[in-house]
Assembly symmetry: C2
Homo-oligomer: 478 residues x 2
């Protein structure tokens, strides 16, 4: 006999109501038939009577069952009549669909931040508001209120922004391309989404870094892809792993973030880059290169992307404003062969009909303006300062309890927690203590890690936050 | 034996190259083996030799085959060696994926408009640029360059916009709701996309109007839904059709555009509205109400939406700025039960991480500004003027060749072409003559119709456009 699942995030009464509704709709309980008494059903299912009472009241509200005192609870007999009207079972609809919900940790983090805006935030992969060029954006909007067009734009994106990106990519990323090879997307997220939806089919195998960007994991799973992991060490992923995955699983694509990887902060080394490109082109395998962090390189020249050495055209290159300027613009871009750009642009018309022209225009103006280079300088200096504050605090508060490599760019520090610790307990204890971090398990298979994002929190809060985290860790491992 | 498909949009040489690549990868031609000579293969496939020459050169470029003079063409023997490197077969990737491309007519229309900006455009479902409140938007941007936030917004959408919408919906649409029941989307298109992806599963049956909005049709098909049609007559759809579809096919949702329907311009009558809501609530069936056109009602009060009479909460309500202000803002909204809003907002994080805050802020300011009501007045007067120009021109140029109902709101006139005519030929002849229309078959099962959008073309071009269309029609039916 069916029993409710006590580990589910759905409340027991809801599970019971859903099960009964299904059995009724399958005709197991025909219209007019008597349902078990609340007490009896509670015994059968091993739950409290009050749980069944609640489940029945839910079904009564939906018009599916009727209770009359003295004659028990029955399936509504007049489903086709005029009388009983009911709301669609929205709960059931919301649980349906092929799209997987985000993992509980991500939703818990979002919820905790919404409930308590004073939490010191080491979890959100985003710039602090004082690192966003707010004044510059406002100046561009008020100086140049010259938008003459507010209509649908070209499915590939707004022309002037694509032209500005051609110049930006040549100057800052060593990528020489043309307007027709650029697709504007809603951040890197949409580039990844379009690739998984339109170039791959359910059941296809792909290789991703382990650990890797948390918001892409559920998306890959929603697309029905089989994920194979490429472990990231301090020099990046190992190209030989790709060859063996190809032989074993016929992987069809590689997703990689070689510069200041999220979450590890790793910079892939030169030798492995060359091997990676070689291997991919020997196998005819496409590489998707996500490159959001390069221009944050604190003290060195921004590392070149794989794409700049991609003579054979194996690389789909993804960039974005989110991590180097303003996530709220939602402007990202992909550089890809024309056939791919056209396909994705066409599909995207069905999804959202393209990105708003206003942020596209603003992003294009910002890239071409004299504000851009000074903004990057200021950003890099600030990130370096915050990184050092974080490291100082970690060394002071958690000396022997943590291990990490020092990142040379990006927003994140990937930190091993030496004592064994339960991710979920650590997260809750942190929230309780007024600080929030991203548990390592959100990023893939690894446990015993935490990602500290130092870009988001205010500088003055970083030592306080780590002190609070140290208390939470202490309480958790005790 | 396989033969290339001469009706395919793919060139013959590409089909041949793809077929050979597949056969090679399946081992039909093992590494090192000899392929048929160009002449022989051309004979077998019934194509010109030059077509095979081109197919072979494609495969050589991909490193899959090698030709040496005197020894013919062979499958590359060293696929695993170091020497032959090749580009991924992007063409194959672009053809893969579960997402269906848009139908050829839609792509043809887009392409023709991109190639010749002087075409008189009766095809694009969009306002003319002089009907878009460009000055008002620019004034809001330069008067209030007060954006202090450029970060990620709440997954449901920017708070101030949702607050402005609560007031707008009460005042203009008779819908009383709360901020937490509103989801901001990239136009109506994304609302529809989220519903089909997240609340329905492949194989589910849904009911849609026939004819209906062309950009939603491929989207429904991409989601693997089974579509059942509700014929639209001059009073809208017939509610009894829904009951019989439910009995026969267990439809799980109804999609409807009751006010100035796209493409027919129909206003659903009061009696049928009441019946529709009754039927839906008796069956516990959700209705998705798309309501982009109501506020364009030329001479009457804007008709109330179904949602305003939806006491049981059966209706997911969708609205948008696109048809009443500026499509390029890409701001739309959905009013839905909390469980649905939360589910869709969560899934959307995986797709695009939400809409840019800039157009959301602008849209909220515009709704709350003193610009909004006068803009609507001006819009309605202009649309009425253009509708009358179109009707006058149709009566003058095509008197007995066309039949139509006069729409009282919206952007479109749905027009039956009395003589029998091939949609594709009529479209091409129109383009040739400098005018473009949307063939009726794009909207579903109906042929012998044309949708004229009078919102898009300049007023002075409307008579000229119809005169050109009349010539094209004359040439097509001759």
């Amino acid at each position: 006999m069916w029993k409710p699942d006590r580990n589910s995030t759905d409340p027991l009464y809801q599970q019971i109501a859903n099960d009964l509704e299904q059995r009724i709709s399958y005709g197991e309980f025909p219209p007019g038939s008597l349902l078990p008494s609340e007490r009896k059903l509670a015994e059968q299912l091993g739950v409290n009577r009050s749980t069944v009472v609640l489940a029945y009241s839910e079904l009564r509200a939906l018009g599916i069952i009727e209770s009359r005192s003295g004659s028990g609870t029955r399936v509504s007999s007049s489903k086709w009549g005029a009388t009983p009207k009911h709301t669609p079972n929205w709960h059931r609809y919301a649980k349906g669909g092929s799209f997987l919900p985000n993992p509980p940790f991500l939703r818990r983090i979002r919820e905790a931040l919404a409930q308590d805006p004073n939490l010191i935030d080491f979890a959100s992969g985003e710039l602090a508001s004082d690192l966003v060029p707010v004044q510059e954006m406002n100046a561009l909007m008020s100086q140049n209120p010259s938008m003459t067009y507010f209509g649908y734009v070209n499915p590939q994106g707004y022309g002037p922004l694509r032209q500005a990106l051609v110049r930006y990519l040549a100057q800052y990323r060593g990528i020489h391309t043309t307007e027709s090879s650029i697709l504007i997307t809603s951040g890197s997220q949409q580039s990844l989404y379009l690739i998984t939806q339109c170039l791959l089919s359910p059941g296809d195998a792909v290789a991703i870094e382990d650990p890797s960007y948390c918001y892409s994991l559920p998306m890959f799973q929603s697309a029905g892809l089989r994920l194979f992991r490429l472990p990231v060490d301090e020099r990046g992923v190992q190209p030989e792993d790709i060859r063996s995955l190809y032989k074993k699983h016929r992987i069809k694509m590689i997703f990689i973030n070689p510069n200041f990887q999220n979450p590890t902060g790793t910079l892939m080394d030169q030798e492995r880059r060359a091997q990676l490109l070689n291997t991919a082109s020997e196998l005819g395998l496409p590489i998707v290169e996500d490159d959001p962090y390069s221009l944050t390189a604190y003290q060195c020249e921004p590392p070149a992307p794989l794409k700049s050495a991609d003579t054979l055209g194996s690389v789909l290159y993804i960039g974005s404003f989110s991590k180097m300027a303003a996530s709220g613009l939602r402007v990202g871009w992909m550089v890809a062969p024309n056939s791919v750009v056209e396909r994705l642009a066409d599909a995207r018309q069905q999804m959202d009909f393209g990105l708003s022209v206003v942020p596209q225009s603003l992003a294009g103006q910002f890239l071409a303006s004299s504000y851009f280079a000074p903004h990057l300088d200021r950003l890099r200096m600030n990130l370096l300062y915050k990184r050092d504050l974080l490291i100082e605090a970690l060394r002071k508060e958690l000396q022997d309890l943590v291990e990490f490599h020092v990142p040379e760019g990006g927003h994140h520090l990937w930190c091993r927690i030496v004592p064994e610790v339960n991710d979920s307990k650590l997260l809750e204890a942190s929230i309780q203590n007024g600080v929030i971090v991203a548990p390592g398990s959100v990023y893939g298979s690894t446990t015993g890690y935490v990602r500290f994002t130092f870009a988001r929190a205010r500088a003055e809060d970083i030592p306080i936050g780590i002190s609070k985290f140290a208390q939470a860790l202490g309480a958790t491992i005790k």
